[in-house]
Symmetry: D2
Subunit: 344 residues, 4 copies
Amino acid sequence: MRIKVGIVGGTGYTGVELLRLLAAHPGVELTAITSRGERGAKVSDLFPNLRGRVDLVFVEPDEAVLGKCDVVFFATPNGTAMNSAPVLLGEGVRIIDLAADFRLRQPQEWEQWYGMPHACPELLAEAVYGLPEVNREAIRHARLVANPGCYPTAVQLGFLPLLEAGLIDRQSLIADAKSGVSGAGRKAEVGILLCEAGDNFKAYNVAAHRHWPEIRQGLTEATGKPVELVFVPHLTPMIRGIHATLYATLTDPKADLQAVFEGRYANEPFVDVMPPKSHPETRSVRGANQCRLAVHQPRNGKTVVVLSVIDNLVKGAAGQAVQNMNLMFGLPETTGLEGIALLP
Amino acid sequence: MRIKVGIVGGTGYTGVELLRLLAAHPGVELTAITSRGERGAKVSDLFPNLRGRVDLVFVEPDEAVLGKCDVVFFATPNGTAMNSAPVLLGEGVRIIDLAADFRLRQPQEWEQWYGMPHACPELLAEAVYGLPEVNREAIRHARLVANPGCYPTAVQLGFLPLLEAGLIDRQSLIADAKSGVSGAGRKAEVGILLCEAGDNFKAYNVAAHRHWPEIRQGLTEATGKPVELVFVPHLTPMIRGIHATLYATLTDPKADLQAVFEGRYANEPFVDVMPPKSHPETRSVRGANQCRLAVHQPRNGKTVVVLSVIDNLVKGAAGQAVQNMNLMFGLPETTGLEGIALLP
Amino acid sequence: MRIKVGIVGGTGYTGVELLRLLAAHPGVELTAITSRGERGAKVSDLFPNLRGRVDLVFVEPDEAVLGKCDVVFFATPNGTAMNSAPVLLGEGVRIIDLAADFRLRQPQEWEQWYGMPHACPELLAEAVYGLPEVNREAIRHARLVANPGCYPTAVQLGFLPLLEAGLIDRQSLIADAKSGVSGAGRKAEVGILLCEAGDNFKAYNVAAHRHWPEIRQGLTEATGKPVELVFVPHLTPMIRGIHATLYATLTDPKADLQAVFEGRYANEPFVDVMPPKSHPETRSVRGANQCRLAVHQPRNGKTVVVLSVIDNLVKGAAGQAVQNMNLMFGLPETTGLEGIALLP
Amino acid sequence: MRIKVGIVGGTGYTGVELLRLLAAHPGVELTAITSRGERGAKVSDLFPNLRGRVDLVFVEPDEAVLGKCDVVFFATPNGTAMNSAPVLLGEGVRIIDLAADFRLRQPQEWEQWYGMPHACPELLAEAVYGLPEVNREAIRHARLVANPGCYPTAVQLGFLPLLEAGLIDRQSLIADAKSGVSGAGRKAEVGILLCEAGDNFKAYNVAAHRHWPEIRQGLTEATGKPVELVFVPHLTPMIRGIHATLYATLTDPKADLQAVFEGRYANEPFVDVMPPKSHPETRSVRGANQCRLAVHQPRNGKTVVVLSVIDNLVKGAAGQAVQNMNLMFGLPETTGLEGIALLP
């Protein structure tokens, strides 16, 4: 029996990536994909890479159709999933939200960062933050999964071993993160035109980025102790990929950091701790549900440097969502996620 | 029983692409991969996208090891496979050469274009030109397959329907082809540095390119009548992809060109004739073993324009080689080649 | 006495390029720059490369302000300049339109291709087509110059020597042209996002492109005899640059084509005929008001291949406009246009 | 009287950029350019952007020729200039070395980082570190200028105002720097191929980079007090540009950082302090001799973030070298350096 899957809002990059992964997933039946703007259009007309593989037509978002699914992915703008979640959950549909609606625990904090009141604050406590490397067991039984943001995935996976082992000062974390342009979505905006973002590099939102509270909350919840960080995102002229360069002050400069990382992720199918002195490249995870990490301690000093790469659309979005679905439905966690990164 | 596969010269882009495809191929056992320069190195150290998926170490090219394989792929520079082919064939190993050693029928022509005498001209008649859309039956029984060049694949698939149907003047074909930089291989050369080939566009080898005789021979053999063409290759600042824009003079401007193309490729799993007025994009086949075609007749005039896209490393090299292997070993032709193009 | 210059619509790529050139032009006083959308904004806030060099603020388009200028450049969408031209000309202001309003001679043809009636068809006969290599003398005395399109500049400069010398069949020209993405302008459109146009190559508008009638008219007028051509534009993943690959059938395959080209452009400051066997690169003209050409005759056959490169924003737009201004105001033609291309 | 200029080793990217700048410099006579490998070749054959602008032919490096110059630029690999400097200085030629030979004060440190003994350690004390914003007066009178590295220029200009004002902890600086690929030079190396460095992002040399001791020495000398820093360089898929993101711990979180930066650089022609909340883009300095800076204090916390961008080939190499030459020969500092950045 295949899992009946619905996708709401499949016209963006996380949507087409979900379709790429789910069309090849042996345990899934793609049941419905919705889009107001593209209603009636063939999915494969919008995304010709899916020609011959996905026959669906975009339909109007409709709870009757979605209500027949076992699980619905929301690949929508922030503020959409929260409007449909209560009804769908009431009909027994499980939900994986790839947007931010259920990522922050406090409704006031959500309102502050996302600029609108939360439509169903009563669900925030139930929602499980879908980082399997932290919340695997809770995800298995979740009705509602908040799929993490792309930066938060890369940053948390890099800091977690150090924080859990108590090896760094929790009050002075720095995350200098660089993202490919697909992280900004498939939107008609001047700033992400090839002629604006190409052959160019810049920081953005240094004062405040919505992933900052998510990272802070995630690291605090995962380790039970408050953390503070400075987070500086940058736009880099490539399509996919996040590279987070993480800095922290070691409380014990003698610790065997490599062993700590290898131990922490020994059984994780999608986190790869590279050998000492490695420099993971974003292309080594292009299209793959992988995070690759390397840990450095320049000149054996007090500062640890962690390098963390993911594909923002896969481990940072659609792939992690499928990983969560596998957990929720009792499938092997790696089902449909075995694709090898495309290099070059 | 899995097919025992050897790869000679796996350190280039066609090599790593073969490994990506074969590592996920359910009917294959990767048995040996050779490289003089990288002997002793782990394959996944050179290509970290294969970490956790390919455990092989590069070994010295050695006929004892290769002789135990069912099939050996040569992903080597031109002029290498011809030196090993007679011995390996003698040991019952089948060969798929991704280089040019067995593509041209006439040894003198080979010598003229590749600058060295052919080492085993007696095999040229036996070698099967591995374009399944033309030579499928012969490939099934071949011991030695000459895998087509990347440009020749894109150009021939575009011209074939028109030539076979007798709809164009065979003496004035024009192929204006644009290739991503991976077509030039993984070589330490200044001309393909990011700072030379990036944000730049140029033609090259307008006077003479080695794929010109291959295309001419292929179209002539496939249709039984001589053709002449002008072939102008260009380098375009992207990694993967070939876009061939083909021009020919129609002998019958009233013919239903769309129907001719759709009919010709109706049963081809890896050739996709797009709807009228389409403009296939190279990214729609990135990483996929697909050729997408569109046929245009501007202002219903005498000139037909065919647009043909492939991924030069997949349908233009490693993917087509696996397709040929599937045919040679009686597997379903699409086995291991179902990957969907990565978009964006 | 400096030329008082106004710019209408300076928020696009031709606008900022005009500003870059004019800010460093010793004979010019930048007097006004208008934009409805950016009224009140500092030009250098929109385009930080101009910080410290251009102090202007965008103002509302206003004929009172513009009327004080000696010349007004329109860097506006098609259909804008034609509404202001009669009034400004009436006030003695000379006009250089970088859009298409005055490029086609026949108002019906304009309406057919641009989808709106022409606002001042009576000016079409007076407008001078601003290709100095053809119309230099007329430009000197023009009140109204229609600055050529980017593709038409590259294509015409490549075909002109052959047509003028009567060396090719005028009825079967083929222009296969590739443009960087800046040719599409600075518009919020999905198709020119980095994630859509990057690492990708495609043809577009094969059925019909607005530059087709312009090229046909230009070549016909320049040579006094009708020409027919097939024109296929492509989008290539770079920012600036056009590479036109031109094909024609020689009527005399023995002609010394190199000499014809060198003779034709011997005195042209901005057309560079490269040595035989050259392959001009778009980056060799990046940022420079240059066209570089090479002529090939593969295998001494009947087909001539011309390679023509320009920077679409310079010789294909803003640079050519300044060249025209220099001619109109009696300055040395190269004033302010001596910048050397940025390579790499 | 024009300055007679020689260039040693003009076949790399700093060489061609020097030629671009000097060919348009009104006070310079390009006298000789040397290259062993390209002896006899026209400079403009190697770099076609210089066609019609530079007529020189590469000559064998020869002290007789160079000895007639007023100044010689070394655009050579590290370890070359130190072999010729004593003789040339003895002949009264002034030297600007764009490589690292004279950047470090201590010969042992040079040997440690560059892997060879220093050929003329006696000159190290005399050599002036060519950062005009620090050493302007000394440069005016220098015989021998050590032109700073690209990363060191961007990093030092960003940290200097804070260090000079005593506003940050000098022992815990972090410089997270991202460079375009041209920083790696024009060398036939696999790692900087378009297919390796394109659509990819990675850190490199995290353990140790040669610019680390240069930055540390430069900041220590400029401020008279020792500093310590962690420096992590990254390769970003673009041609030109460095973006340094700098982190430090404020000793006085109430200080008016914007005023400190604006005051420090008020009279600097090539350092642009952008308004509060700015995010300078590398393309805003592409081709221009500019450093643009912005200073941030996220959430008014204890960490200051400085964003610093330069073109690594201009303010990070050839442009700064010309700036130094202008100072050394009493020309206005901006002569020949007024070019506006190319955007887009």
